[in-house]
């Protein structure tokens, strides 16, 4: 299955792919992302963790052009990324969404084919007159879409409406759709949210498979076991700023990360909130190995 190559572009693992420097995003008085700098290298799986409201998704949106950062810059393969989602995709960075945003009334294969939009060139004239380019590209797109559906494990589901797919399959379809844009870096926003342990394991295998294709993966996740199994490096975002960054085991055992998730006695908190376990917002995060 791994022969589903990413369009043939060869990437040396280790070269700098994504370079976010001093990215800050303010909404009025609220600083959602505060001076975040991150580097993702080709062929690595990079994890982004942090309590709810830490600004992970906002940071993702800054990277993918949905938001224009208040200050700072994002470079991809050396070029400054334009603040427009479709141009970011064209540059080679594709994403999935935390709350699945498939085209619900399109079939699975049509969803994937929409992902190929930016990589195909058929224009209105080609389509109206059914010129050779239209035929060629449609056949190639269909073929490639089937390969991608097979790759993510959606065999036989290609003609199903995406809204009729089971939840886990919808997540996988979103990944297939993102892969269809032929990215060098894949951004996954909580790919295992709502999944059972078995589905989570399958998602993990799928991400490894994607990495083996030569893609880099930047993944936001809450499931600690998942993220520390998976990632080469992990950054922990707290209140919009990077708290720690480094290899999984380092971040995992860092007392500040534990503090951010589990909480500390009230007198040590800067805000000195009345409820002692207040920052530990999500009980589901109790499965942290910390």
């Amino acid at each position: 299955m791994t022969q589903v190559a990413t369009g043939g572009h060869h990437v040396d693992s280790g070269t700098l792919l994504l370079q976010a420097s001093n990215v800050t995003m303010r909404f009025g008085g609220l600083t959602a992302v505060n001076d975040v700098s991150l580097n993702v290298h080709a062929g690595e799986i990079f994890g982004l963790i942090g309590p709810n409201g830490a600004g992970k998704t906002t940071f993702f949106n800054c990277l993918t052009g949905l938001y224009k950062p208040t200050s700072g810059e994002v470079r991809f393969a050396g070029e400054v990324l334009p603040p427009q989602p479709r141009l970011v995709v064209r540059a080679g960075m594709a994403r999935t969404f935390q709350n699945i945003r498939l085209f619900h009334n399109m079939t699975a294969i049509e969803n994937v084919m929409v992902g190929m939009y930016g990589r195909t060139k058929t224009n209105a004239i080609d389509a109206i007159f059914r010129l050779p380019r239209h035929r060629r590209e449609e056949l190639a797109s269909t073929e490639r879409a089937r390969e991608l559906l097979d790759f993510v494990g959606l065999v036989g589901a290609s003609d199903m409406l995406s809204r009729n797919l089971p939840y886990g399959d919808q997540r996988r379809l979103e990944i297939a759709r993102a892969l269809a844009t032929d990215p060098k870096l894949l951004l996954l926003d909580e790919p295992t949210a709502g999944m059972n342990p078995q589905e989570t394991r399958q998602a993990e295998e799928l991400i490894f498979k994607i990495r083996d294709l030569g893609l880099a993966v930047l993944v936001i996740e809450h499931d600690m076991r998942f993220i520390f199994n998976l990632c080469d490096r992990v950054a922990c975002l707290v209140r919009g700023a990077v708290l720690v960054e480094g290899p999984g085991n380092v971040v995992q055992n860092d007392p500040r990360v534990i503090e951010a998730y589990i909480g500390t006695p009230p007198e040590e908190l800067p805000e000195a909130g009345p409820a002692p376990e207040q920052p530990a917002a999500n009980p589901g995060e109790g499965n942290a190995d910390a």
Binding site: P85, R86, M106, V114, T142, L161
Partner: protein, 576 residues
């Protein structure tokens, strides 16, 4: 009623109910041998015993269907074979009874109105009504049938093709017959009859099967539809009255199809679309040989068509480029204003307030008839011994224009671009995040739709022989939109039907012209409440309108593949 009569009662009473229902149908059939009206001024001469009048023959068709649907199951399941389960016998019989009774009721009301008093309804009419009510009452006591599965049955290909051809033939006959009915009462009665037949066929499951047959034999369908449309003028015996209506319908339909790209495929609300038709018409007018034309450049019509299209699409770009970044209500308001600006501008380009381009409110009259490759569209031609008049010529020209528009519509829809449009409609942000250039695609739809309207407008200018600004008011835009919504957004067939209904009914039912807007308004309200996806539903649109209906989603999945096939060219589209 469903709640009042329990299922056990229905099963217990199924045989008596069937017998009573058959009696009702027989009464209705018998009634056509009797007089319906005292006098012969209403509908047609229905005042004698012994034989049916020409129109009374129509009243026998639905009762015969009721009779067949009720009687056939009596021969037993084994003899019916696979049809026993494939047809919804009982439910269809109920629908057919209701349709038959409604048709009779329309006829009786018409008789009462035209002859001034219910007293003029004779024994046959009452008998038919009683028979109908008896049949309805009886069928209410029959157990409900399961969903028809006619479309799941295997049928040979020749049968499917034959069915399509027969359907198209009947369509031609029906259209010719409907147009030949001069009296409003006759037309209404026939319309009620037609709606009844359509509902019954749908209920029986014939339409689902036909839909499948049409999908399997797409080319046969398209070809026979065009042959039928082409043959239509030959049924008119040289009369131009109906051909004038028919060609107006085609112009309206052409504009509605262009609007359907914007509204139906991309999901943008355009309330000023008539301006693009107007722009095309004015362009063709000022470039024509009319003595009042203001531009001293007279290209051949083929070139004029293209110029008209380009002018319209430039206007589309002009209005679209700054506004397509906003969406929804804002776009509707901007396009509404644009439509008015267009009309007022055309009114004012009269030489006093600006350059004289359109002669102001007087417009450009005296636009000569077209002459395409030596064929004079203004002259009466004699083909196969049948006179083909002026409007029939324009009808044929518009048929070609419509054919081109349909090809453009379908081929864009079933392509990468069509997929992009659906994606934008579904979730614009996700589409952008997948690399779809939403702005460019919307602009393309806007300009493309405008181009097609401009082409239609250029023919309209020559057909109407004059172009004035007051033909292009907001109401016309509203009617175009209504045709798209009523017929079915995103479908070709639906919009053709919607345009025909909206243009034909006012022509045929002159007596209600004062209430035209009221009736159409009510019609739209009812459509939005009971069938928001329109008469002919695009599967995807239907899903969008019924987002919560999981059963429907399962059901439509299969049809979506049959009809849309990944929006894939190998399954859909036309070669040029």
């Amino acid at each position: 009623m469903r709640a009042i009569i329990s299922d056990e009662t229905k099963v217990r009473l199924r045989y008596p109910a069937r017998a009573v229902g058959i009696l009702g149908a027989v009464l209705m059939i018998a009634s056509i041998m009797m007089p319906w009206a005292y006098g012969h001024e209403a509908l047609d001469d229905m005042g004698f015993y012994g034989a049916p009048s020409p129109l009374q023959v129509f009243f026998v068709i639905l009762p015969v269907i009721v009779l067949l649907l009720l009687a056939a199951p009596l021969v037993g399941k084994p003899r019916l074979g696979k049809f026993a389960r494939a047809l919804a016998w009982n439910t269809s019989a109920k629908t057919a009874s209701i349709a038959a009774t409604a048709t009779v009721a329309v006829a009786l009301i018409d008789i009462a109105i035209e002859l001034e008093g219910l007293v003029n309804v004779e024994v046959g009419g009452w008998l038919a009504l009683v028979g109908g009510i008896v049949a309805i009452a009886a069928t209410l006591f029959l157990p409900d049938s399961p969903e028809p599965t006619l479309d799941r049955m295997k049928s040979p290909n020749w049968l499917q093709i034959l069915a399509i051809v027969v359907l198209m033939g009947m369509l031609l006959f029906t259209a010719a017959f409907a147009l030949s009915l001069d009296k409003a009462g006759q037309f209404l009665m026939f319309a009620a009859f037609l709606v009844g037949v359509v509902l019954v066929l749908r209920q029986v499951g014939v339409f689902a099967w036909l839909g499948l047959a049409a999908a399997n034999n797409n080319r046969v369908l398209v070809l026979s539809a065009f042959i039928v449309a082409f043959a239509f003028p030959f049924t008119q015996n040289g009369s131009d009255a109906n051909m004038s209506i028919a060609s107006q319908v085609l112009i309206f339909a052409a504009a509605a199809l262009g609007l359907n790209i914007v509204v139906g495929l991309v999901g943008l609300l355009d309330l000023g679309y008539i301006a693009f038709l107007g722009a095309g018409a004015f362009t063709a007018a000022v470039l024509s040989d009319s003595a009042f034309a203001t531009v001293n450049f007279k290209p051949p019509f083929i070139i004029t068509v293209l110029i008209a299209g380009v002018v319209s699409s430039l206007l589309g770009l002009l209005i679209g480029a700054p506004t397509l970044r906003v969406s929804g209500d804002y776009l509707a308001i901007v396009t509404l204003a644009f439509g008015e600006i267009f009309r007022i501008t055309m009114n004012n380009l009269d030489g006093t307030d600006g350059p004289n381009l359109t002669n102001g409110p007087n417009g450009i009259p005296g636009i000569p008839d077209l002459n395409i490759f030596g064929y004079d569209l203004g002259a009466v031609h004699d083909i196969l011994g049948i006179e083909i008049g002026r409007f029939a010529n324009y009808y044929w020209l518009m048929l070609i224009v419509i054919a081109v528009i349909i090809v453009v519509f379908m081929n864009l829809n079933y392509s990468r671009i069509g997929r992009g449009w659906v994606a934008i409609r579904e979730d614009e942000l996700a589409a952008e995040a997948m690399g779809v250039n939403a702005f460019a695609l919307k602009l393309l739809a806007f300009a493309g739709g405008a181009f097609l309207a401009g082409v239609a407008g250029s023919v309209k200018a020559h057909m109407d022989t004059s172009v004035t600004p007051d033909q292009y008011v907001f109401l016309e835009s509203a009617f175009l939109l209504a045709a798209v919504v009523l017929g079915g957004m995103g479908t070709v067939m639906g919009v053709l039907i919607g345009a025909t209904i909206l243009k034909l009914l006012p022509e045929k039912l002159r007596f209600f012209s004062d209430y035209r807007l009221l009736v159409f308004g009510l019609l739209m309200v009812f459509m939005m409440r009971f069938r928001p996806e329109g008469i002919i539903a695009d599967e995807r649109r239907q899903l969008e309108f019924h987002a919560e209906d999981e059963e429907l989603a399962e059901e439509l999945e299969e049809e979506l593949i049959t009809h849309h096939g990944h929006l894939n060219p190998e399954r859909k589209g036309f070669d040029l």
